[in-house]
Amino acid sequence: MTLIPGRTSKQGTSLNAGKLKAEYLEVTSTVEMNEDDMKKMKLKDGDRVRLRSPEGEVVVTCRPKKASDLPSGIIFMAYGPSSSELMGSDTAGSGMPLSKQIEVRVEAVGAGEEG
C-alpha cells in the first residue's frame, strides 16, 4: 500500500502543546485506511497494524475512512516519529526524500504479539 503522511489540524494543535506530550504521540501513530481494504484484511476500527517499508517498521492504530474519501491502496497518517521510521533517505539529488509516497506492507498485529 502507499502511505501518505500529511498534516492534520490535530497534529498541528497538539504540536503546539509539545511534541513529547501524549496527544501528539497519539495523533502521529494512527493511520487511516479505506474501509473496504480494512474489511478485506479483517480489521476493525482501533485495531493495531504493522507497517513495513524497506527502511523499518512501526505498529500503529488503524481507523476506517469511506472509500470515496480515501481510495483503496492508500493509507494516511499525520507526520511524526512513525512516518520518519518508514521514510527512505534517498532524495534523488533533490534534497527531498519521498515523504508523501512511501510503499509499505500492512499486516494485522495479533493480540499479545506487541512486545
Binding site: 527502511e55 481510495p71 519521498l98
Partner: protein, 488 residues
C-alpha cells in the same frame, strides 16, 4: 496589511488599547486568572491588548490578531481572529519552567552553553546549520554568517518542503502575485496537492476563497474553486470541483492540461493513466482559458512525491502558458511562519535559496549534495546547529542516526526529540509572541512582528549573535577573508 502607525522602527513596540487602560483604572486587580477566551472587560492593569499582532504558526502569517495578554501570568488568554491552529499557537506558548541552557542534559549558564556551541562549530570539519523557518529574518541572517565563518553548510526546512519548487523556479521561472491580488481579482482558484483546511485554515477565509475583493464583489459566489488531490481531504467541501488524481500521476495530469491548453492532441488513455476523465479535463481547461484571473496554489502533494521539482515545474509552466488567455499565477503554499523569509534571507546573503555550502570559502548550491537529509544520511556532517525545527522526529531514520552520533546544538521553544539528543540545548523565546523582528508571508510580503509579552529566555537572534561573536573570538587569527566580511 498591518497599519504601521503604532510601531517603532524595529517594530517591537506594542499597543495598549485605551479601553483596556480605562478598564484597568475602574477595577484594578480584578480577574487575574482570566479564563482562556474571557474578555478583558474588568481586567486589571496586567491585562494588555495587542492589536494587529501576527500569528507565525503557518505561512499565512495573519497579521490581524487582537491578543489579550495576561502580563502577570505571562500568557495570551484570547486571540481574536485566530484559527484553531493559531489559537493553539498562542495559548500553548506560555513560559515554562526550564533551564535556559543544557549541556549534556545538565543545567548550564547561557554563557557556558554559548562557549561550548562555538567550540563545537569551530572544531568540526563539516558543521551544518539547519532549520530557521520558525525564526525571524534577523536571526536567519546571523545563522548564515555563522555557516560562512565556520565554512559549513546552511540549509533550511525548505529543502524538505518546497525545495523542489525552489529548483523549479530556477528552471522555469515564476508567474507570481501577492495574496492581496488574489483576494481582489482571482475568479478561478485551483488548489493542487494541498489541504489548507487543516494546514492553513485561514487561507480560504482571509485571502483566496471567501473574502470580497475589488473585482470580486460577492466573495466566494464570484469564484470557482477547484481542488486536485489524491484523497478527499477536509478541504474538499470548500471546492466547487474536486478532481481526484491517481497517486504519483500529478505530472502526467499537469502535462496533459498543458497539451490541451496549447491545442495539442492527447491520447485516449489519459483517464487510465491519471484517473481523471477527459470531460473533466476539457471542462477545467475551458474554465482556465476563460477566467479573468486565475491562480494555482500548489502544496507538498506535488513536491514530496514522485516527480518532485518536475511537478512544481509543470505547475509553473502551466500557469505561464495560461497567460496567453488571462492573467494566471502559480504560488506554492508555504508551511512554516517564516520559511519564505528563510528563502529570501539565504538568497540575498548567498545567492541561493537553500542547500548552500561554504566549504571553499564561497557559496555553492547543490540540492542532493548540501541539503541536510543527504548530508546526514551519508554521515558526512560532524556537527549540527539546529534552529527551531525537530529533524530528530521528522527526518528519515538514517539521517536521525547521524544526528545521534554527532554533537548537536539546538535552539527551540519547547523540548523536542532533537533538543533531547543535543549536546547543547537552548530554550529560546517564541518569535512573534516574545520577540519582534521580520517575517515573510508566503507571498514574499515582509511583516513586522508585535510581541505580546517578555520571555525570560533570550531569542534566537540573541543566542546566535553570541555564538557568532564567540566563534570570532575563539578562532585562530586571520583564518580567511570571508569570515572577516561576516564580522560585525
Amino acid at each position: 496589511m498591518s497599519d504601521k502607525d503604532n510601531m517603532t522602527d524595529n517594530g517591537t513596540n506594542t499597543e495598549t488599547s485605551a479601553a483596556a487602560k480605562a478598564d484597568a483604572k475602574a477595577a484594578p486587580g480584578a480577574a487575574s486568572g482570566a479564563a482562556p477566551g474571557a474578555a478583558p472587560k474588568n481586567g486589571g492593569d496586567h491585562i494588555k491588548i495587542v492589536k494587529n499582532a501576527t500569528c507565525t504558526f503557518c505561512g499565512c502569517v495573519c497579521d490581524d490578531m487582537d491578543l489579550t495578554v495576561d502580563l502577570k501570568e505571562k500568557r495570551i488568554t484570547k486571540a481574536k481572529n485566530a484559527c484553531v491552529l493559531g489559537r493553539a499557537w498562542f495559548a500553548e506558548h506560555t513560559i515554562e519552567d526550564r533551564p535556559a541552557a543544557l549541556i549534556d542534559g545538565r543545567e548550564a549558564s547561557v554563557e557556558e552553553a554559548v562557549e561550548e556551541a562555538a567550540r563545537i562549530l569551530l572544531e568540526a570539519r563539516y558543521p551544518i546549520t539547519y532549520g530557521l523557518s520558525d525564526s525571524t529574518c534577523e536571526a536567519q541572517r546571523v545563522a548564515v554568517a555563522i555557516s560562512d565563518i565556520v565554512k559549513g553548510s546552511v540549509d533550511t526546512t525548505t529543502s524538505v518542503c518546497h525545495g523542489p519548487s525552489g529548483i523549479a523556479f530556477q528552471g522555469v521561472g515564476e508567474t507570481t502575485s501577492t495574496l492581496g491580488e488574489v483576494k481582489n481579482r482571482a475568479d478561478l482558484v485551483i488548489y493542487w496537492g494541498g489541504n489548507p483546511a487543516e494546514s492553513h485554515p485561514r487561507h480560504f477565509t482571509r485571502y483566496a476563497v471567501t473574502p470580497k475583493g475589488m473585482h470580486i464583489p460577492n466573495g466566494k459566489k464570484d469564484r470557482t474553486v477547484v481542488l486536485v488531490d489524491v484523497r478527499k481531504t477536509p478541504s474538499a467541501p470548500v471546492s466547487d470541483i474536486f478532481i481526484q488524481v491517481k497517486p504519483g500521476r500529478d505530472f502526467e495530469l499537469l502535462w496533459t492540461l498543458r497539451a490541451l491548453v496549447n491545442g495539442k492532441k492527447i491520447t485516449a488513455d489519459v483517464e487510465e493513466l491519471t484517473g481523471v476523465a477527459r470531460e473533466t479535463l476539457d471542462d477545467l481547461v475551458a474554465r482556465m482559458k476563460s477566467c479573468s484571473y486565475g491562480v494555482l496554489f500548489f502544496g507538498m502533494g506535488l513536491t514530496m512525491t514522485r516527480g518532485r521539482h518536475f511537478n512544481s515545474g509543470a505547475v509553473l509552466a502551466l500557469a505561464a502558458d495560461l497567460n496567453q488567455y488571462a492573467p494566471f499565477v502559480a504560488k506554492p503554499v508555504r508551511g512554516h511562519g517564516n520559511v519564505t523569509g528563510a528563502d529570501n534571507v539565504v538568497s540575498w546573503q548567498t545567492g541561493y535559496p537553500f542547500g548552500v555550502n561554504f566549504n571553499r570559502g564561497f557559496p555553492r548550491f547543490n540540492p542532493g549534495e548540501f541539503t541536510t537529509v543527504d548530508v546526514l544520511a551519508r554521515g558526512e556532517a560532524d556537527a549540527a546547529l539546529v534552529i527551531a525545527t525537530d529533524p530528530a522526529s521528522n527526518f528519515p531514520k538514517k539521517a536521525i542516526e547521524t544526528l545521534r552520533r554527532i554533537p548537536v546544538i539546538s535552539l527551540d521553544t519547547k523540548p523536542t526529540e532533537t533538543s533531547r539528543l543535543a549536546r547543547v540545548a537552548f530554550s529560546v523565546a517564541t518569535y512573534g509572541i516574545n520577540t519582534g523582528g521580520t517575517v515573510y508571508r508566503m507571498d514574499d510580503v515582509p511583516i513586522t512582528l508585535r510581541p505580546a509579552f517578555e520571555s525570560p529566555y533570550p531569542g534566537d537572534e540573541e543566542i546566535l549573535t553570541a555564538i557568532r561573536d564567540k566563534i570570532l573570538a575563539l578562532r585562530p587569527p586571520r583564518q580567511d577573508a570571508a569570515a572577516d566580511r561576516a564580522a560585525p
